[in-house]
Symmetry: C2
Subunit: 321 residues, 2 copies
Amino acid sequence: MAVYTDVSAEDLAEFLTGYDLGLLLSFKGIAEGVENSNYLIETGGGRYILTLYEKRVKKDDLPFFLGLMGHLADRGINCPLPVKGHDGRALRELAGRPAAMVTFLEGVSYRRPTPTHCAALGTTLAGLHEAGKGFTLSRENALSIEGWKALVAQAGERADEVAPGLGVAIRNELAELETHWPRTLPMGIIHADLFPNNTLFVGDTLSGVIDFYFAAKDALAYDLAICLNAWCFEADNAFNVTKGRAMIEAYRARRLLNGAEIAALPILCRGAALRFLLTRLVDWLNVPPGALVRPLDPMEYYKKLRFHQGVETATAYGLVA
Amino acid sequence: MAVYTDVSAEDLAEFLTGYDLGLLLSFKGIAEGVENSNYLIETGGGRYILTLYEKRVKKDDLPFFLGLMGHLADRGINCPLPVKGHDGRALRELAGRPAAMVTFLEGVSYRRPTPTHCAALGTTLAGLHEAGKGFTLSRENALSIEGWKALVAQAGERADEVAPGLGVAIRNELAELETHWPRTLPMGIIHADLFPNNTLFVGDTLSGVIDFYFAAKDALAYDLAICLNAWCFEADNAFNVTKGRAMIEAYRARRLLNGAEIAALPILCRGAALRFLLTRLVDWLNVPPGALVRPLDPMEYYKKLRFHQGVETATAYGLVA
């Protein structure tokens, strides 16, 4: 949530000569996105978001992310459209960093989404999964089960610094998931991080999906499991089945969930909870001294995981059998 | 350069019900202003900047600052216009902080202003001084000579941590200024912090003056001295007389500088240099351990002060005698 790389108006105006966007009218560094520097830019041609990719994003992955946004936008998904320069390239360089401009989308991110918003998300997620078909590039999901093993190793014995017994609970869960993780579900391009702060709404209309920097090829139903975790729990970590039902049924109305996907939903939700528990845990254990930004609480996702461990069938999430 | 107070879309939408601005379409925390939290907001009614005033701004001063912007905007100055709520008040509260919305202005701030930009600044500054006449509220300049004494006391013996001999040089300069500071120059409302980052340009046209949170009643020519310091030195701290001439002559074309003001310009420039040297010095000496933001270099203003100490008449700044 910071601007890491400072850009002067003079350097930006020079950078914009690589495009056909008219005069620079305004630019503001915006506090958005955890990993990159973002500027909201207005030119004679309209409004854009300029992103400078900082070191946590692999440069080799950028053609996949930018290509995916272009592919989805061409198919009617409300996502940012990368803007190409005179030379036809969207990926350029500014201030020594890879940089790209994408179209600006209106909308705000809700902190406390309602069932109406959860239904809109379900519809959009299914549409995203359908639209992803035919995208020719691919990217392995570095934060699927193999990646979790590496995170468990990275946290090591220190998990118990956050809560006594957390280390053994995580290792047991990982062992369970390795045994039971479904490996034959329908695959496709998933967003993999579609939290409320990565969606935009104008009133109750979902106007945009942003931040595709975790997108990868994986089980499509796993993306739904991530969203159930991110959207359908209340502040006290109780699952709201009304929100779950709204999301799942809206999803199914646009893309069929097959029997295997429905049966796998509880284990996929456990995997999704463990994935965010682990990345938050590693961030929590690696806060530099004096840091101003407090990392997100890993225990929120441990509580969600505990809920999913008690779930036997997807009806607990609101699925209408 | 940060957003200190986090506001949710839900809370912002609720806040906006106090105005008549239509549906919330977008809001982004922006990295602007040293002391407050700022959001760029778009509604059905247009674009606005929402400022939440953090603790460094005195709440009692806000009616002066907001009233001044309204007064100036009404007189054709391109400055933000405070937006009033249904109840006629511009100063409200959000997230436990005093808050106000002002109109958004297009333009970008140049890092390396040209003589053309310096001339535009001179014209605008004189216009601002003329437009300030008749504003009925007043505010003492807390950062004039009495305030400098307090800052020298605050820095104390620690000035020499920045550069050996700096402490005695500062105390000697303060004594000189106390003796020679002009006290009978034409007074009015000055901006007092009109650095390039507080002006906006579209191309070479000055499109906006922002950040009035140091504005106060003081000698009008002192404001010009602040701008000569802030705009007319090169990166190597050499004074650029072409820029100085462009600024001073553009200023004079719109507001007459009398003989006393012209004679006082060198001493006013010394005072302005000392003022920014002192605030930067105190900030430098009080950086919290682990802070991510490096304060501005006080020695830049010591070098500027040394230049002014060698100036005898305003012709050295480019004034056409």
